[in-house]
Amino acid sequence: MRVTSFMLYNQFVKSMHKNMADMSVLSNRLSSMKKIDKPSDDVIGMSRVMDYKLDITKNEQSARNIDDSEAHLGYTDSILQSVSNLFGRAKELALEAANGEQTAWTRDMIAEEIRAVRDQLAGYGNSKFRDRYVFSGFLTDRKSFELDAGSEYQYMGDSNYIEVKVGAEAKTKINETGSKAFYDQDKKFTNVIGDPVGTGTLSISVESGNPVQIAVDADNNSPEEMRDTINAAMSKYYDPAVPELVGTGTLALKAGSGAEVSLTVDALNNTPTQLAAAINALGMGIEARVATDTVTLKQRLLFRPSTPGTPISIDVNDSDGNNTDSSGLSALLHTTTKSNLTTNALGIEANVINGTAGKRLLFSPVNKGDDFAITVNDSGDGNNTDAAGLSRLYHNPSAATNLNSSMSFFMMLDHMINSLENNDTSGINASILLLDDAVDNVLNVMADVGARLNYLSSERQGNEDRSLGIKTVLSETEDADIAETATEFAKVQTALQAMMQASSRILSQSLLDFLK
């Protein structure tokens, strides 16, 4: 092939450009420390980089949201801690006030102090964090608790939870509502009632069980008498779920001061229904009936005294000779140690509370969380939807709806104050129990808030781990390996120098140099 100087020259120029271009890319890479300078450098890499960057931004936002949520929940938690401390103080005062040596005057003094506690509680309830009322639900611009016309504190917020995104799929509630944190959920209370209340029947059912009818008449229609009647009637005896065939043996039944009656249980009467009929047939002061659990459809035997308030006892002699196991007739027993049947487990407890405006009846389930319903049949005036007679127990007499639910801590403290001012020892005693319940409730809410805080801190941990992980892969995808790039740079540099040296020798070759 014929080679001309132009060809050599072109070749030199071309390879010099190529080398220079390589050097420019490498030096750019060294100065920016990035492997990818534009999408076409590495299309797949670029799309990954975009994904990673998006993930990192989202993660950063989540971290910020976690910070926010933690601050908010942490603040809520500290307020609840203060509330719980406040109740500690209130309980001390209550115990002091219950002391028989206190006089009406000293109790008045204590009442003053409880009033201060109540106002302080309202202060806690109206806490603001970053200019938002923390306990008001969505109504963050409204005070959570305000005094109403009857000088009782009412919750002004709603029951909404503010949710914040703290992860790709994770949301958390950053607030606690006043209706949960400052209310005892279990309790139901009546309207302010007079004395006497009226006459008629109350029908009380617990956990959708068979209702217990309680007659209210002239003998027991003061609030306190009603309380006692209800408490006595709802003290029920019952057994755990029993099998289809109960077993055989003898039952020793005793009611009040009556004689003990023995009942033989054999193959003829050992289904729950037959057994209940056999006991009722004895007519000895204990009534039995079968209740079917609405959820498990298991049957239970329920016993109650024919005369409300009379103590009853039932002993079991199991024909399998073992009275402490869960087979045979002893399956009726609540525990496998030989003991009597469970008491009160489905019951409710009634209390009279003294409000600023008057007395109320308060019902609380003996088993926390049990559902109960009370309906009123006002036979005194025959009208169940007016505010007179027994039907005034209702929250909204005109609609004959059920009782008010959830007692606020303020109502409880009001009760305490009024009991102290009225020097009402039974009221003071009741308030001690109510306070215990309230503290339980606050602790429950705190546990819930604490669980959310724990969740947030684990979410934060996960978030940080993820961030680190993504940042590592991002760096692997996007960042230049300095050692590698520098080496490559040196390589290209050497090649360029070698080429220049070679070219200077070749290009300078000319025949003319040899012609003289």
Binding site: M1, R2, V3, T4, S5, F6, M7, N10, Q11, K14, K34, I36, D37, K38, P39, S40, D41, V43, I44, M46, S47, V49, M50, D51, K53, L54, T57, K58, Q61, R64, N65, D68, S69, R130, D131, R132, S136, G137, F138, L139, T140, D141, D158, N160, I162, E163, V164, K165, A168, K171, I174, N175, E478, S510, L511, L512, L515
Partner: protein
């Protein structure tokens, strides 16, 4: 032969050497001239004299000056220059466009997009906070601005390709006229002889090479030696004449090429011109449109949700209730007379559909496509749902199974999408209005209404090619509805005729007329339930959630992955262009080398030739001297 014949032989030797030296010098002096082909003197033996016992030579003749030239290599070179011209334009322009979409430096749309949704996230953690809302407004503004900058930069690229097309056309015309002039000279010189006008031909070859960088063409040499050039099957140069290539704007404001009265745009695929045309269409139909589509989707989807929420201080007057029954369900029998917000406290904005049963005694209500309540008893002429009272026209009450559609909307965050329309064929009819009537039904595609007759039309979705409406009847001035868009075409100078086309695009102005509509930060709808709930962040959460929502109209991807796809797309195309430029460059260098090998001047060779012919000249001179001595010998004979 007389002794004087020897003088002639010597003279021919001198002439031949001199010509050869002159040619070598010409070669040396043109060693660096573009397009020069090396020349060589072709010598021949002069006709000898016949003697009795043989022939006696009479010296040499300069036959011709030959040019080293390979037609095959030359045509390969022209072809490869065309490829190279196209590749270099594609690579340069796409590299520029790529910078617009460069996410490697965190300056692209991606960060504005995430910034915008992060701002919604911040509003959701603190819905009553004015600072967070202000930040959101700024971020919305930033999103719009980034999109506008991108659009300006892309439009600028398109503009500059159009300008380059003009420049190239000017150079092509100038090259064409130079070639035609050289043709004239070549024909004049060569006609009737076997002489080749070497240097003129070299000049012409160089001009052809320059032309081949600009466009694809075909050329042939006629028997007179003139080169004829056709571009896009039309003559650019024929003999001594040229046609002028010109540009004209088309209906999309793009330059198109006309030669000899014909549009040849689609026939030009190579050279810089072919590259510019291809890249211009690519940018316009892909990247520009995709950016507009993305922004249209973002602004519209955000608006839909924003308008279903409440601001911090919204009042009933911030909401409008529109009855779009006639657009949504044209077959509905009855009509709504008035709608109003009768109870703001229970008011819920949204898109409502009311469906009556066959007996018109009951109705179902759907909100935003899902059932709200069913079998509500209907008392004639009025109903109330979610605080909205709808009064029906007593003279035109609902009939069996009637459906009604009302839209209750609050403020938008971004400017509402406007619909662009263009008459593509200057028909007698005009688009008198084009609007979005149901923005939840938008597909973010472009459409074309094509008339198949004076009273029938089809509607095509240009983007997926789907025929949306076939053979619908056209009535001047009545609404044409499809995919949430309502268009009114009215007869102008006459009715439309078959083949008339109207472009309908909700995308064209999506970036250009984008803007943030809300100025008061309180207007941002963070609450889903009511104005009076400042702590309600549910609507802000749903809007922030749009970031992770797969949008059906965007091929079931999220905003950011749709954009990432676009970026990868550009990266791929740009990388491919770069690769093919490198390939074409290498090939071109190879062919150039081949040409150099044949036609290039080698200085060493010419130096050797110089010496060779110098010696020959010296020897020739010696012949004359010897002859002279011989003569003298004869003259001095005594």
């Amino acid at each position: 032969m007389s002794i004087y014949g020897l003088f002639n032989i010597g003279k021919s030797a001198l002439f031949a050497s001199q010509a050869a030296i002159a040619t070598a010098s010409h070669n040396i002096s043109n060693a660096n001239t573009q397009g020069y082909s090396r020349q060589e003197v072709v010598l021949s033996i002069s006709s000898p004299i016949r003697l009795r016992n043989g022939f006696l030579g009479r010296g040499t003749n300069v036959e011709s000056v030959r040019r080293y030239y390979d037609q095959f290599i030359q045509s390969q070179l022209l072809g490869q220059h065309q490829n190279y011209g196209r590749s270099s334009v594609l690579s340069d322009t796409l590299a520029y466009i790529e910078q617009t979409f460069n996410e490697a430096r965190d300056l692209g749309l991606s960060s504005s997009l995430t910034g915008f949704f992060r701002a919604w996230d911040d509003v959701s953690t603190n819905p009553e906070g004015i600072p967070q809302r202000n930040v959101l407004l700024k971020k919305s503004e930033a999103l719009v601005q980034t999109a506008k900058q991108m659009e300006v930069s892309i439009l600028g690229t398109i503009e500059s390709t159009n300008d380059s097309i003009d420049n190239i056309v000017a150079s092509m015309n100038s090259i064409a006229s130079k070639i035609s002039k050289i043709n004239e000279k070549v024909v004049m010189v060569e006609v009737g002889t076997s002489v080749k006008a070497n240097d003129l031909r070299d000049q012409r070859e160089e001009l052809l090479r320059q032309l081949s960088e600009l466009t694809d063409f075909s050329s042939y040499e006629d028997r007179n030696g003139a080169v004829n050039i056709t571009v896009g099957l039309r003559n650019l140069v024929y003999g001594e004449n040229t046609n002028t290539l010109s540009t004209k704007l088309n209906d999309a404001d793009n330059k198109e090429l006309y030669l000899d009265g014909l549009n040849i745009t689609s026939k030009i695929t190579k050279g810089r011109l072919g590259g510019l045309l291809a890249v211009r269409d690519d940018i316009e139909t892909n990247y520009l449109k995709e950016v507009r589509k993305l922004i249209a989707a973002i602004t519209n989807e955000v608006n839909v949700l924003q308008a279903r929420g409440f601001g911090l201080d919204s009042t009933a007057s911030d909401f409008t209730i529109t009855d779009i029954t006639s657009d949504q369900f044209p077959s509905t029998g009855g009509s709504i007379s008035t709608t109003s917000i009768s109870s703001f406290s229970s008011f819920v904005p949204g898109d409502y559909e009311i469906r009556f049963n066959a007996a018109v005694t009951q109705y179902d209500v759907y909100i935003n496509g899902s059932l709200l309540s069913s079998a509500n008893a209907y008392t004639p002429n009025s109903l109330t749902v979610n605080g909205i009272t709808v009064n029906f026209n007593p003279a035109d009450p609902p009939v069996a199974s009637d459906k009604f559609y009302i839209s209750a909307r609050g403020k938008d965050l971004f400017n509402n999408l406007s619909v662009y329309s263009r008459d593509r064929d200057n028909s007698g009819a005009d688009v008198t209005s084009a609007t979005v009537f149901n923005r939840t039904a938008l597909t973010y595609d472009e459409y074309e209404i094509r008339f198949t007759g004076a009273a029938t039309y089809d509607i095509y979705n240009i983007d997926d090619g789907v025929n949306v409406v076939t053979g619908a009847a056209y009535v001047s001035g009545s609404s044409i509805r499809f995919d949430g868009i309502k268009v009114v075409i009215t007869n102008g100078s006459g009715p439309p005729s078959s083949g008339d086309r109207f472009l309908i695009s909700p995308l064209r102005n999506s970036v250009g007329s984008a803007g943030v509509e809300i100025t008061d930060p309180k207007g941002i709808a963070a609450s889903a339930a009511s104005t009076t709930l400042p702590g309600d962040n549910t609507q802000a959460l749903s809007i922030a959630g749009l970031m992770d929502t797969k949008i059906t109209a965007l091929n079931n991807t999220t905003f950011s992955s749709y954009y990432a796809g676009l970026v990868s797309d550009i990266g791929n195309v740009s990388m491919a262009a770069e690769d093919s430029l490198e390939f074409d460059d290498n090939l071109l260098a190879e062919i150039r080398n081949k040409r150099e090998s044949v036609s290039g001047v080698s200085l060493d060779e010419e130096a050797a030739n110089l010496i060779r012919f110098q010696r020959a000249f010296e020897a020739g001179a010696r012949i004359i001297q010897v002859t002279d001595d011989l003569l003298e010998t004869i003259i001095n004979m005594r």
